[in-house]
Subunit: 165 residues, 2 copies
Amino acid sequence: MEDMEALPVRFPSRQHNHSSCVNKLLGDAEEECRRQKLRFTEHRRKVLEIIASSHKPLGAYDILEQMNFSGRRQAPVVAYRALDFLINLGLVHRLNSLNAFVACMAVGEDHTAQFLICRQCKNVGELNSNRVSERIEKDAVEAGFQVDQQLVEIIGICYECAESG
Amino acid sequence: MEDMEALPVRFPSRQHNHSSCVNKLLGDAEEECRRQKLRFTEHRRKVLEIIASSHKPLGAYDILEQMNFSGRRQAPVVAYRALDFLINLGLVHRLNSLNAFVACMAVGEDHTAQFLICRQCKNVGELNSNRVSERIEKDAVEAGFQVDQQLVEIIGICYECAESG
DNA sequence: ACTTTTAATGTAATATCGTAACAGTTTAAC
DNA sequence: GTTAAACTGTTACGATATTACATTAAAAGT
Ligand SMILES: [Zn+2]
Ligand SMILES: [Zn+2]
Ligand SMILES: [Zn+2]
Ligand SMILES: [Zn+2]
């Protein structure tokens, strides 16, 4: 039965309408900030926009480079502060294997993020399989380990890259 | 059926005989180098000994600090070269969430390393559950993703730390 | 409205992690 | 012994991330 659940997979296809990704994310951000009475400041919005601009992960310094509005070069800490905020809000994820950041594709869905990282096109999707997270939880508990946090990153080749040789 | 397989869990208990961990690892290293006609040089042995000295992960610069035999401070690259060698041989693993390194607890067992990281005692074990790796593989494939490499790090509290409050 | 408190920003410096490049040396192979 | 491959020494640098502290802006309390 539980094996029949549909997976909530999201891997960005080549011709998906990406502007709707961006719009949804910014909308969710605004709504969530309103709800939690948090401030969606310029820096935070800008960093989110930069990250959301594609499904390829960006390093903190890549983001920083794109923050040169007003011609001034920002200090690294400016990017990191905004990133911390966005990560805590669940709008952005950190990829530990890449030291890089991506926008969440499943905001508001209460998921254990599991990443699909295509090493050819560099796009990143989210597998977010409950079957996987539950299997990890069960086996860890069986081993006498109490799980607080799971980190799952899957490196390989996405469907479209596999097709195009 | 397959759910009845015993897990090959290894989490270092407080009173395990750790010198046998070290001896086994060094023995395996020597044997593997002999078999593959690779050179188990001083640096490589020393780095392996340092990493194997406990089940707590060490950063590259921590390792470096302990390489001051002959009083001379080694350059970072010395540690990284030895680490690369040991990782390729499967004797050492890198923990991406910690930028740190641990000795493998399952040398020669052809495993997808899955780490149990206790955030209290800092010890690291290996879950290495085939059920987990197969679940990941299946769900990723179902999502149209071809898996080359899995990265699973589980952060939480180990059995002994949970017991002692 | 003014004061108090909290949150966010500006700025500089520094810590931590990792790699490139290249000359010199040792070891293994021929 | 000569050659080729692997390893080492050394320097410099690149990339990632945090600490500390002064300043400003916003929210909350009166
Ligand atoms: Zn998109
Ligand atoms: Zn997500
Ligand atoms: Zn041990
Ligand atoms: Zn291992």
